[in-house]
Amino acid sequence: MKKILSLALVLVMVLSLAACGGKTAAPAETSAAAAPAAEAPATEAPTAEAPAADVKLGFIFLHDENSTYDLNFMNGAKEACAALGLTEDQYIFRTNIPEGQECYDAACELADAGCNIIFADSFGHEDYMIQAAQEFPEVQFCHATGTKAHTQGLSNYHNAFAAIYEGRYLAGVVAGLKLNEMIEAGQFTAEEAKMGYVGAFTYAEVVSGYTSFYLGAKSVCPTVTMDVTFTGSWYDETAEKEGANKLIASGAKLISQHADSMGAPTACETAGVPNVSYNGSTVAACPNTFLVSSRINWAPYYEYVVNCVKNGEAIAADWTGTIATGSVVLTDINEQAAAAGTADKVAEVKADIESGKIHVFDTTTFTVEGKALDSYLADVDTDPNYTPDTEVIENGYFNESVKRSAPYFDLKIDGITLLDTAF
């Protein structure tokens, strides 16, 4: 009996470990959006003239609504379905689909169930979506954050992303103004103005994000520098918290992050350090330190695809949402923490970005190893050897998300120090 009892205990321990292990390891999604308490999406006036009777949408999500990353996609999907006037039997959500054969199976099952457009939300789904797309040529497969549509040569496989670097740039402006305010208040000198950034991986999407954030801050606070640390996970609350604390201890006056947990924002609130959040307002948890947040709204893309299919038009192989399409949005600025006059300045810069007066990666605003950039080959066509293949400096700026929708800015510019690059 004792033996059986101890065995039972061991089993319970093991199974619970397995359960916990699964949970912490699971949200390893590769990509942008996450919405810590994503604000309710603004409902738009229905764009469809008549209810789309002949479309059925299938959505594949890496996790369920408990993941802020997937929640942001789900909100976008629901918003789009409502705007298009789709009935409940015209869309199917498949949640908790891992980045493996299960994704292929799920996509095929959705096609079997009569879906003619299938969306997937996580980077690792891409190859399995392509496999399914080859098998179902009459079904449209749309994959967010992927990189291969423009080289795959499949007419029914498409990638999408948003020019989130524009949102990051605006958020950077908010950060720079806050630093200026603190400098004027005598809290530290202009030379000591250093920001910290907690990134997930050394992936181009993250590099593009922190660089645009830094350039936004630098546009209003020219002396600013930035330290970046990586966690090696898209969701690791402890590592993100530790990363933020490490940056604060080494003199960072303001923190931002590109990872999906509340680790960095709560560390900032505890330390009283201003924080620029990502993909959703964290003001509820951090009322004194939250400044602003940027996020991707996926509803415009979903609506675009459905309208294409309804009208019999071809869907772009790469679709990049912008501020102008409503795909890149800033949350409300927290007036309690942000510097005075921030909202006006942000509106001004936003208008300049939309009109093309400001380019985020303008080569006159940054240097690489002390030199201005006049040519750069980026790895736009994904291959295992990371071969640089496409000239991306044109018209005096780095053309981010133009050659393909997913970001490919992977330069290390002056003023930014990488503390570790293990990932």
Binding site: L7, Q101, T202, A422
Partner: protein, 366 residues
Amino acid sequence: MRKQSKGPIVHISKRSALPWYHAWAIRGAAILLALVVCAFVTTALTGEDPIGVYKTMFAGAFGTKRKAWILGQNLAILLCISLAVTPAFKMRFWNIGGEGQVLIGGLATAACMILLGDKIPNWLLIGIMILASIAAGAIWGGIPAICKAKWNTNETLFTLMMNYVATQLVAFFVIVWEVPKGAGKIGIINQSTQAGWLPQIGSYKYLLNILIVAVLTILMYFYLSRSKQGYEIAVVGESERTARYVGINVGRVIVRTMLISGGICGLAGLLLVGGTDHTITTTIAGGRGFTAVMVAWLAKFNPLVMVFTSFLLVFLSRGASEISTIYGLNHSFGDILTGIILFFIIGSEFFISYRLSFLKHTKKEG
């Protein structure tokens, strides 16, 4: 508070072996009861019609030809890992390192596909993959076994810790082989050339895996019940002292059995990486190294019965996923139903092994 001592109300005693129909009647009743409880829970929590929910579970498992094949594939992999841990468990060697042994077998497979793909003929590559994956799994299982045999280390903790080592190794190599740079994902290996992909039988993607595991099941059944080695495993499991007394080299049996156990886990890694997923991630085993323990125990280590127990678990999980899709419920709801059903099934084994007698006490006043 207690002023008078009372005897226990319930007395638990070991039953003598029940006739088979009696045991199955208890099991059937348990499943019926479980379904009734699930129905109550469903109606109370979601307001959905329970019969409809059960129908949806069946549809999720068998609704289309494709769903049936997916069920078969999932069953094959779970059964393969369960077959792998069975000889160890029968020997009372608590191998809960199945997860790590599968991962390391998968990693070996992926390494061959990435490093040797298109450099050598495909038949040779697949041959090397088979050897490498089985060897990797066997090594992962063999290390704790050798330490157990030599120094009597605790195999439960040892095999468990080997899981973490395997996970970290996979995480490391994912970063080495990631595409594109920094992504932390390998993606499908050799997608254009299909080098190192196990062959597909006709148009059936999963048939090869299912056939391999079917053959393995029969082999394992005969190995455990008809071979001398299988008998030695049973004797060591019953009592090490007896085994020593009759001249069995216990250390040798432990190491040999764990090499087999780990090797089959490695094979499961091969079927996952080379056969279906064609990639390697830290979560590719998906907890099946642990679920396999339950499959093996529920079947009392009989490989043929394990076909049914692994079917039950796969059926429940596929059904649960369908419920969450059709009713827009969280995936956890399906898991709750699965939990209730498993609780009753495992509970019924208690009533098959033990008898409860309710003792009547004459209540004495004062």
